[in-house]
Symmetry: C2
Subunit: 193 residues, 2 copies
Amino acid sequence: MEIKIGISNRHVHLTKEHVAILFGEGYELTKKNELSQTGQYACNETVTIKTKKNEIARVRVLGPVRAYTQVEISKTDAFTLGLNPPVRESGDIKDSASITIIGPKGDITLEEGCIIATRHIHANPMDVKNLGLEGVDEVDVKIPGLKGGILHHVSVKVDPSYTLELHLDTDDGNAHLCTKDTKAIILGPSNEE
Amino acid sequence: MEIKIGISNRHVHLTKEHVAILFGEGYELTKKNELSQTGQYACNETVTIKTKKNEIARVRVLGPVRAYTQVEISKTDAFTLGLNPPVRESGDIKDSASITIIGPKGDITLEEGCIIATRHIHANPMDVKNLGLEGVDEVDVKIPGLKGGILHHVSVKVDPSYTLELHLDTDDGNAHLCTKDTKAIILGPSNEE
């Protein structure tokens, strides 16, 4: 029941149209390194994210381009920026927080698009079967260690392309002192409200 | 079993001698506001904490002066500063991380003194009796909410002067989306290794 943990720092997903505005017409994102989920990669490109209160520079763009533009930050980042983004699944951006993205060639202001990502596990159908989690939407997960604990409301995202991994933001990762070697333990379906 | 949560941002405790070096001979710390624990207060004075890698400005000094100088930071701050401080009870600074403190009149470099504080509950003997926690060193504590969970290894600190409160650092507070109104639930003695 031990699974690998991936810590996601703040990052941005962009549409093709927004890449053109931020980096120039016809610009193609360039791959810095592959991520654990097949086909996903960190780009060499970074942007600045900005609000009326503050800004954070060198925010990594993840590729490939998507059907929506989304900024994923931690609650710590949210305090820095003076935002109160909702906790959401990736892609569920309706009525989420407004934010400005600044690239080398232009900027865009999103009316909505900034979220704190829900804690989630990527799993393929075989993983889900092996873990006895068929039909389970949310699980509780234990993180061992001196500042360990149990995370509630960890959503299970299933797709044949997925590699089994728990994705946490930097607040969860740092609060629990996660390193690249820390393994999480899936305890079973979440019973929390 | 619900108790109040206090979130501690990074802060510094100073000896009288170090106050003299940082703020000038004979300088007395001035009170900004009282903290929840009797006699403890946030000072108007702030310092910069610095390492070879980076620095963080406007770090609050807490009063009154103590018998030891100690810098308490989060793991997120530790990454910013390029440090790897141990998780320790306040006052247990032997072989903890080295850090430089810069004040308006001088600076000091501590060979040891920088820690990540253990999650802890302040309680007086009557609280401990009411909670059925006499003789218990560590408890598990539940935080409700969308990013809620259970914190393991929460130490119980008992003193007649204490006001019942759970103290968390900003990583734990932000990871669990704690606000000033969030209440924690003591589940009982911690069974974790």
